[in-house]
């Protein structure tokens, strides 16, 4: 019976490379992670709003997704870094505005509500809001 096994030096080298690579990288700071997540929530809200407005997604899907997004933003307010709290609060309100427009099926007011989300997103991506 022919048995072939990976030689210990090869396995050890692979392990070393991966450990060094991953350990040296580390993860982004908590603030940066929280900021990126907030930007993602804002972008999700915008995309859902636009697709709903274009009639590409059902009302109930849009309502559920926006509600879930707003809840995530609200949950993060207490837990996230204090420096982001004002932005997160503004984002929660802005997402709530889009959610409200969808709930009332008010396509006319939607662009204004989406602009509010975009302005929070722009603020989150401005250098002043970013952790140094």
């Amino acid at each position: 019976m022919a048995r072939r096994r990976m030689s210990p030096p090869v396995l050890a080298s692979a392990l070393l490379i991966v450990c060094l690579g991953t350990a040296s990288c580390g993860s982004s700071s908590d603030v940066e992670q929280a900021r990126q997540r907030a930007v993602s929530w804002a972008a999700t809200t915008t995309m859902v709003g636009e697709e709903w407005s274009a009639g590409h997604v059902p009302d109930r899907y849009a309502a559920r997704t926006l509600a879930a997004t707003r809840q995530e933003v609200q949950k993060s307010i207490g837990r996230g870094p204090a420096t982001l709290t004002p932005s997160l609060q503004r984002l929660a309100d802005a997402v709530g505005g889009v959610e409200d427009a969808v709930a009332r099926r008010d396509r006319a007011v939607l662009p204004t509500r989406l602009r509010a989300v975009e302005s929070v997103r722009a603020a989150l991506t401005r250098p002043g809001e970013r952790p140094s």
Binding site: M1, R4, L11, V18, S27, A43, T44, G55, H56, Y61
Partner: protein
């Protein structure tokens, strides 16, 4: 002519059955967060899967044993308990994620929360297993799964920069979120190289009474079917990279992934995604339930076979019934589906050596495979990719768990 039809059907069902919740979710996350950069992980996983599936089909065709059956016979029952417990538990997690995926597809369409669908979906899976033959389960649902080709159509519809996609086939260091990058890479590998796939394929070869005359069919089906399947998985990554990455959307929930096809196809994109998710997960749930049942039944030496009547294989039938009930109960609890999916894929990668190494020993044992044993190329490639997936999983899993 009959052989050509058999090969075509085999390839088509392999393609249709390739995408499931793990490959969909991990590819979408990868594309959204890292663009085309993780395409290499899909390619690597697919290459390993091609080898493993070809080997398992060859093994069963030549030895007339399933992989599990031979593992127990060759290494003894005590040793066999190790893969049974580890691979079995991780596969059960994957099954819960797949059932959750079917429920999520229904949530997308109806707006009702996914746990409401746990019982009807669990019952539907059980009923299909009870009433369906192996052919119906394997080929029927997989043929419906061809709807997932819509992701490939979207790649061309969106004019994907194919040169950039090709550049992603070469592994590179990420510019940001490095721990997350490696964790998603390992989840992709786990989603691609799931042991249940080649255990299931081996049992299927016995159910379909394969012999040495099927070796060419096996080679063609494994190579072409898995390659096209891998291309579909890569298509999900590419579309996610085009749709989500420029918007800075990170995939944290399935309802975000539902927007993946609306840019190219509008309303139909949403419908196509829901159908793709539902059918792909239903097919995978059926296959995984059967794979788990095969594993236990063959391991304990029970009468097994989906083509047997339930009364003739009572313990086999009771086993898949129990598995579906347990998985359904977990879905009912409303577990966060995306986190469960990605975690179960990474755990799959961590348990790969337990499933793969004994199998490679069997593939080199003349007692079973005669002169149809593995070449050094096959052994080396599978061992290296398995070792890489294992090492990445061991390093990145604790980092990811600590990070979240």
């Amino acid at each position: 002519m009959k052989k050509a039809l058999e090969i075509t059907l085999g390839i088509v069902t392999s393609v249709g059955g390739f995408l499931e919740i793990g490959s969909l979710a991990t590819a979408a996350q990868a594309g959204a967060q890292f663009g085309f950069q993780l395409t290499w992980a899909i390619a690597l996983g697919t290459v390993c899967l091609i080898f493993l599936v070809e080997m398992s089909g060859r093994f069963s065709a030549v030895s007339h044993h399933t992989v599990v059956d031979a593992m127990r016979e060759r290494f003894g029952f005590d040793f066999f308990l190790i893969p049974l417990v580890f691979v079995g538990l991780v596969t059960l997690l994957v099954l819960i994620a797949e059932l959750g995926g079917v429920c999520l597809a229904l949530q997308l369409v109806t707006g009702l929360a996914f746990p409401w669908f746990a019982l009807p979906v669990g019952f539907a899976v059980w009923l299909l297993l009870w009433k369906g033959t192996f052919g119906v389960i394997e080929e029927g649902v997989s043929l419906l799964g061809l709807v997932t080709v819509c992701f490939l159509v979207a790649v061309f519809w969106l004019h994907a920069p194919l040169r950039d996609v090709a550049a992603g086939l070469i592994p590179s260091r990420p510019a940001h979120d490095r721990a997350q990058y490696w964790f998603i890479a390992v989840s992709i590998l786990g989603a691609s190289i799931s042991p249940y796939l080649f255990y299931f394929y081996s049992s299927g070869a016995i159910e379909d009474r394969w012999d040495e005359s099927h070796l060419n069919t096996n080679r063609m089906v494994a190579t072409l079917g898995m390659t096209f399947g891998g291309v579909l998985s890569a298509a999900v990554l590419v579309v996610a990279a085009i749709v989500f990455e420029p918007r800075n959307i990170r995939i944290e929930r399935y309802d975000q992934i539902a927007l993946i096809l609306t840019e190219p196809f509008g309303w139909w994109g949403f419908v196509l995604f829901a159908i793709s998710l539902g059918i792909a997960c239903l097919g995978a749930a059926l296959e995984i339930t059967l794979a788990l049942t095969y594993m236990v039944s063959q391991g304990f030496g029970w009468m097994w076979g989906k083509n047997a009547r339930p009364r003739d294989a009572a313990r086999f039938t009771a086993m898949y019934t129990s598995i579906v009930i347990v998985a359904t109960l977990f879905v009912l609890t409303g577990l966060e589906p995306l986190k469960l999916t990605v975690l179960s894929m990474a755990l799959t990668a961590a348990t790969l050596p337990i499933a793969v190494v004994p199998f490679l020993v069997l593939m080199n044992d003349e007692h079973y495979v005669g002169d149809h044993g593995n070449s050094w190329v096959g052994n080396t490639i599978v061992l290296l990719i398995t070792a890489l997936a294992f090492v990445l999983a061991v390093v990145s899993l604790p980092l990811e768990i600590a990070g979240s």
